[in-house]
């Protein structure tokens, strides 16, 4: 009963925040509500027992996406939007009239799914002793479906390459005042510590490369915003190397496996744990570097 009530409150809050984020009065309000939405969603993941996701969502969804959204808002300025006039409202009602039957259709055909189950979890648990890690989610990410993870690192790289085409991403940040500097200077080492802990724990409990990388990136971003770090520039080659490190190592392991006869992305017996750990460390660094470059990366501006 109490659980059902909690679910109901959580879901109501989630949907209200989602609606507010879409149709908030000003863009600023919308973004604030969206960041709050991310935090509530992290709570939902925790409630549903997906702790890995709760960690990832809190760091990525609420933290970094929030920073990105506010950066976009700062670039855009608070120009009047001309949104939500009568025509817009009419369009919204029309779309809602179309989508409501779709919702009914979806719910009625999805209802039977809640009772079924899948053979995969059992297989995943049965194969766990041979996977080199103890946490099933990490085993799926870095062993059973490592190919997805490899390609996903490439997706992150491509986003970065795409963002690089767009000219300067420089943000004119205000001069940080003393307390911000002091707080960020204390926060950053703490984030590094927690990131390292999450990475290490990932092999046996919720956590892993993505959560750790996102936390590290959050640390880098906050340091940069407090002007405690020099500008991050793509033209600095060690930074590029850091971005590529995870993907390159992953690819090298895959190719070496194929070359030596183990098979594409197969780890030799006994080597699974060290290889996975090495890939995770490299991926964490790459993810942290890529995400921080995406948020606060700068291009060298031609001298005026």
């Amino acid at each position: 009963m109490a659980e059902g009530l909690f679910d109901l409150v959580l879901a109501g809050l989630l949907l209200m925040l989602a609606g507010g984020a879409l149709y908030g009065r000003s863009l600023y309000t919308s973004i604030l509500l969206f960041v709050t939405f991310g935090l509530v969603l992290a709570l939902v993941w925790a409630r549903l027992g997906a702790v890995d996701l709760a960690l990832a969502e809190a760091a990525i969804g609420a933290g970094l996406t929030g920073a990105l959204l506010f950066a976009a808002l700062a670039r855009q300025g608070r120009a009047p939007e001309g949104e939500f006039d009568l025509a817009c409202r009419r369009r919204g009602l029309a779309a809602a009239a179309v989508l409501l039957p779709v919702l009914w259709l979806m719910l009625s055909s999805l209802a039977p799914l809640a009772e079924r189950d899948s053979p995969l979890p059992e297989l995943a648990l049965a194969a766990l002793p041979h996977s080199g890690v103890e946490h099933p989610v990490t085993a799926v990410l870095l062993n059973y479906r490592a190919w997805d993870t490899l390609l996903e690192l490439a997706v992150l790289l491509l986003a970065l390459l795409g963002a690089r085409q767009l000219g300067s991403g420089r943000l004119d940040t205000a001069r940080p005042w003393p307390q911000l500097r002091a707080w960020n200077a204390h926060l950053a080492p703490l984030l590094v510590l927690v990131g390292g802990f999450l990475l290490w724990r990932g092999s046996s409990a919720p956590g892993g490369a993505f959560q750790a990388g996102a936390l590290l990136a959050a640390g880098v971003v906050s340091l940069r915003l407090a002007h405690l770090l020099p500008p991050l520039r793509w033209s600095f080659w060690p930074l590029r190397l850091l971005v590529l490190l995870g993907l390159a190592l992953f690819l090298a392991v895959a190719a070496a496996g194929a070359w030596l006869g183990q098979g594409w992305l197969s780890y030799p017996a006994g080597w699974a744990k060290p290889l996975i750990l090495a890939i995770e460390v490299a991926a964490t660094l790459s993810i942290a570097a890529s995400l921080s470059l995406l948020v606060v990366g700068e291009r060298r501006e031609p001298a005026p």
Binding site: L151, V155, L161, L244, L265
Partner: protein
């Protein structure tokens, strides 16, 4: 299988190297494309007798892990991708104006890798990741064109993401219903119940949006025509074929037969309308590159028509026609976009009317445009003719199918009309447009190369058919 993996590994590793290492990028990219091409040819040789090879990634058995498959068709598509990448790269190395920025090289390599991963994958979620990879690579390439391309790039990105999310919801539903993600295992279990229908509907809509299939094509002309010439060529020839491939896999390998039979006419109808709507828009647009982009919409209509009818009648010959269309259109469209870029760059105008007298000032480029156009129209002896012939044969066999044949004929007439619209301006020598920069003779010949290959396709088409048909079930 290792040859196919090399064909995938080369562009991926090459792309990374190109990001890190700045000098001599063109040479490295050409080398990568060449290695990939040779590896793809070796892979095709391995499966040329129509066998299918599997690779279990990580050595885990199928339901748990991802499987890669190598069929004659996927090997052929690998070869096609590597070949087109090589052709475009050769041209781009010669004509730097066509690429927009030095980041073209790593991005094109990563695009190539994304497509190679897509052709090989047999896992629904892995296909989602490759789709995203493809989409982001394409958007980054469009953004190379600078400020004027940013609006189309953003629209493209948002719609492409919406399409992916519809696809992903479909994947989630299928997993919820059957508990596996492997395409062929799903195909064995699939029944025509409500969740399966909903999932297939969502996935089809998402893929149609990503593949710019009518009526969800509205983002394509702006995105393709605002990109640099070499990028437009890659986008039109390759990128839109990725979602089409997944759509084909879904409806011929996964979907229960009765559903495929029901859904076939809908897709075929959309294809027929795409032919007419795309052709009409290409006739009306004042801009040259946008004309070529609308012609992509129309030509994708043939592919969709072939797919829909192949599903409806369960006819493998039409599947062969579909893939022949894809290959022939890819080659012809590369030539056409490169030629359009060359014309636009040399004559300094974006509009079709600025082509006045181009047959005099840029004879080879104009010849390229006509040659590629002949294949798009489907005149013999081009690859386009072969594909259209394969498509028409089953349509003409029975009188009740003549309606579809009529749509194909109308589409052909329209494509003839828009190609001749360009040609007519080109041969109007009364007041020729003076070239803004000195025409580059060698570059012009390079644009002709893919168009000549389309005609070569007609020679080897007979031998290719068993590879295209051999993959049916």
């Amino acid at each position: 299988m290792n040859a196919a993996l090399l064909s995938l590994f080369a562009p991926l590793a090459g792309g990374l190297l190109l990001v890190l290492w700045r000098p001599a990028r063109a040479g490295l990219a050409l080398g990568v494309a060449l290695v990939s091409l040779l590896a793809a040819a070796a892979a095709l040789h391995q499966v040329a007798d129509g066998t299918r090879q599997w690779l279990e990634v990580g050595g885990w058995a199928p339901p748990l892990a991802i499987r890669l498959q190598l069929t004659p068709l996927s090997a052929l598509l690998l070869l096609f991708t590597a070949g087109l990448h090589l052709l475009v790269a050769v041209y781009a190395a010669r004509r730097p104006h066509a690429i927009g920025g030095a980041d073209f090289w790593p991005l094109a390599c990563l695009l190539h890798a994304a497509l190679a991963a897509l052709w090989l994958s047999a896992d629904l979620f892995n296909l989602y990741v490759t789709l995203e990879l493809l989409g982001l690579a394409a958007v980054a390439l469009v953004a190379l064109a600078g400020e004027k391309a940013q609006r189309p790039a953003l629209d493209y990105l948002l719609l492409s993401l919406a399409g992916s999310l519809a696809y992903l919801l479909g994947v989630a539903i299928l997993y919820g219903r059957y508990g596996v993600l492997d395409l062929f295992l799903l195909g064995e279990q699939a029944t025509a119940d409500a969740p399966t229908r909903l999932a297939l509907l969502l996935m089809t809509l998402g893929l149609m949006l990503k593949g710019a299939l009518w009526p969800l094509h509205l983002w394509l002309p702006a995105a393709h025509s605002s990109a640099p010439a070499a990028v437009s060529a890659l986008l039109s020839a390759l990128v839109v074929k990725g979602p089409l491939y997944i759509l084909w896999l879904l409806w011929t390998r996964l979907a229960p037969t009765e559903l495929a039979v029901q859904a076939g006419p809908l897709l075929a109808g959309a294809g027929a309308l795409a032919l007419l709507a795309g052709g009409w828009a290409a006739l009306r647009t004042p801009l040259l590159k946008s004309l070529v982009a609308y012609s992509t919409v129309a030509q994708l209509g043939y592919a969709l028509l072939a797919l829909g009818l192949a599903m409806h009648w369960q006819e493998p010959r039409l599947e062969a026609a579909l893939w022949l269309f894809v290959v022939a259109h890819g080659l012809a469209k590369v030539s056409m976009f490169l030629a359009a870029g060359e014309l636009q760059h040399t004559l300094g105008g974006k509009r079709v009317v600025t082509l006045k007298g181009a047959s005099q000032t840029l004879p080879v480029t104009m010849f390229t445009f006509v040659t590629a156009g002949v294949s798009l129209i489907g005149l013999p002896p081009s690859g386009g003719f072969l594909a259209k012939w394969l498509l028409l044969q089953p349509l003409l066999e029975r009188p009740q199918h003549w309606g579809w044949a009529l749509a194909v004929v109308l589409g052909t007439l329209m494509s003839a009309a828009y190609v001749f619209r360009v040609v007519a301006h080109g041969f109007d020598r009364a007041r020729p447009q003076p070239p803004q920069v000195r025409p580059d003779r060698f570059g012009q010949w390079l644009t002709l190369l893919p168009a000549l290959l389309v005609f070569g396709l007609a020679l080897i088409g007979e031998r290719m058919l068993p590879w295209l048909e051999g993959v049916s079930r």
